[in-house]
Symmetry: C2
Subunit: 415 residues, 2 copies
């Protein structure tokens, strides 16, 4: 079963917003056995939308459309869908009630443009929007299903979870798709490929292997397509096992989870706690951990110590260390990580200090110079990295390197 996602809105095409909806929708569709064939982002333009719908019609049986449903004049999705289906408009009573409910809740007067949101193409089934005024719309047309949803992520997600996904499962007989991902840390894509070349060659046609590299990590993803979930699962598991044994020394996890989540799980299972002292990563490492539910069982928090003063007052880094060796030095990062263990009373700690750029570099410590330390109560490991000159990447690479170092330290203690 193939789907196509069409996102409508000039804001994506001029790069003002990143389309995160499509990745989320694709993941959810995959879970129920629907493969996304193509994702197309098109402009708020009548002809362009009509062409995209016609092209999608030829490629897919499920066409999910987001965006262009707001009450303002630049939003023309609803009108264009009606034209595509050659349908007139009717007033949806339940949509009007929903709009009235929302305006009453916020105690705002109902405007004419909002009342117009209850006008829908006569051939649609309305999907009520619990989080906004624009209704979702489900269309059956020439053997395809078309669903139009708002582009606001939480409004779209709610509709997908509550209505669209369950309804797709009952509408179609769906095949089975299984993905299995192995996360490796510290080995390049080509070297991994060389080490498992014979396993890759032996894969049957319905199982594919993909390499997904990202700053010091490579995800190996096996994807299987079939009819029988049990058999497919066995096949995939068997090949995954072969790969894991072959490259065991670089495998960080067998689940498709981010590294920080894997660390949280490992630490929680062992009853360990963590704190951080972030200078150049500026809260990003803390954010990575705390985006995960339940992180508070392991993660105490810590400090974002951008200034010299906070490094001293919160972490107890010695004033003479800072002035003698500088904020970006092995001496400082060691005092930071040990200060975190001592002051925040955690079992493990991470500290990062560096020159994220673009300013602040010197001949001796150019932009991209980063010192990272990880520590347990008994052991501290500090390491210097030399990244590039892009700030966002330096922050991300610093964070991933710190997670990798913590993973290694935890593994050492385990063995």
């Amino acid at each position: 079963m193939l789907a196509e996602i069409i996102t409508i809105g000039d804001e994506i095409l001029i790069g003002q917003i990143v389309d995160t909806n499509s990745a989320w929708i694709a993941r959810e569709l995959n879970k129920i056995g629907v493969r996304v064939k193509q994702i197309s982002s098109v402009s708020d333009d009548r002809e362009h939308i009509l062409t995209a719908l016609a092209e999608a019609h030829n490629r897919a049986q499920i066409i999910l459309i987001t965006g262009g449903l707001g009450p303002t004049k630049d939003d023309i999705t609803k009108k264009t869908l009606a034209e595509y289906f050659n349908a007139g408009f009717v007033e949806s009573k339940e949509t009007l009630e929903n709009v009235e409910r929302i305006f009453k809740k916020y105690n705002r007067p109902l405007l004419e443009v909002n009342r117009l949101q209850a006008q829908v193409p006569e051939n649609c089934e309305v999907i009520i929007n619990n989080n906004g005024t624009a209704p979702g719309m489900w269309f059956n047309h020439e053997g395809r299903v078309y669903v139009s949803m708002p582009g606001v992520p939480h409004e779209m997600m709610y509709m997908m979870e509550e209505t669209v996904l369950p309804k797709l499962k009952t509408t179609f007989k769906l095949p089975v798709i299984i993905h299995k991902t192995i996360l490796t840390v510290g080995e390049g894509e080509s070297f991994l490929a060389e080490r498992i070349a014979d396993i890759e060659d032996s894969l049957p046609a319905h199982i594919k292997l993909a390499y997904l590299p990202k700053l010091g990590q490579v995800r190996l993803r096996l994807s299987g397509y079939g009819e029988d979930e049990t058999i497919l699962n066995q096949e995939i598991t068997q090949f995954a096992q072969l790969i894991k044994e072959r490259v065991a020394n670089v495998v960080a996890a067998e689940d498709d989870l981010p590294l920080e989540k894997i660390l949280l799980d490992k630490m929680e299972a062992r009853g360990l706690t963590l704190s951080v002292a972030e200078s150049c990563t500026g809260g990003y490492i803390s954010h990575l951990f705390t985006q995960h539910p339940g992180s508070s069982a392991v993660f105490f928090g810590g400090t974002v110590c951008y200034s010299y003063e906070l490094k001293e007052s919160v972490l107890g880094v010695k004033n003479e260390t800072l002035w003698q060796h500088g904020a970006v030095s092995e001496e400082t990062v060691r005092e930071m990580v040990e200060g975190a263990i001592l002051n925040f009373k955690s079992d493990y700690a991470i500290a990062v200090t560096g020159v994220a750029g673009p300013g602040g570099g010197s001949a001796e410590k150019p932009v991209g110079t980063v010192w990272i330390a990880v520590a347990s109560v008994n052991k501290t490991v500090a390491k210097k990295f030399t990244f590039g000159n892009k700030r966002a990447q330096n922050i991300e690479r610093s964070a991933i390197s710190a997670l990798g170092m913590l993973n290694t330290l935890l593994a050492e203690v385990e063995n």
Copy 2:
């Protein structure tokens, strides 16, 4: 001048990664007067890639392709491009030297798969990849330009900045596109639209107005298309001025910058400093500030105080306050923000404490309950918010609300 972006890779279609490249490319193209007509994400599949290239050929004159250039077997972009252009392969000497240089730098043996990366279609001009082994490729074909680049963001960005954008500017006579964005905070899309309806109606056909809502903020974007930059700039500026005057009470900034960057700029201009005490936002607010170059002029840092202990030891929140009123309470958030001002010695501070969820809620304080405080040395404002039940959104909405409150407090002191 129209462009199409084609991203190739199953990892996007199964939602394993979010396509951030396309937004970046679109922004850069817009700056030089190239409009992106469509963004298409297709699978690592020969036929599908061929179809996407042919469709793009009919829509655009500039076709930028990312992804599928790795050394492994799932990457078939190069082979498929050669087939599309009906071209044979030649060895690129400069690419081979680049691959050898990179492997020498990292002191790793050169593998056969890497040597193959120097094989390129005979009709391409090679774009050297300073950050990786896969070369970029520039093709002139039937009046169109096709450029193939790696999907790894920093490799692609380097090629775009150093080679592709400059070369596009000399290859085509480009028209002018000007965008002007006004950021508003605290008024809904429909109400804004109602207030400026007559201005919107008076816009000429070559100037469009779009509403971009995002959690409590609405960006109003005017886009103008033309030939003469000076005239177009005058027109856009004039309409922007009309809109700004009309909705002056909710305008936060006239630039298309994120709110936290606007706050940093305002505070730096006034010589003010800021610290934060983040519980449920877990470092996200700090990360928002510190992602911007030069943020250290204003932002001291602060604490991510996930645990009760850190709220007490780092911020000085009283133990009895925590036990009597709970961590999520007006009393606690006030002590947090005042503790930040006192302990971190900043002029302003932000504090956030709440139940991000999905766990940790109670009847009295359900998931989504968040207390936010902002303070100057003289004044503290605390406010309770009731968001929804999605963790990531609660974190983001808390952060944006905190920024909005700081914006208001700064404006009060200014006036």
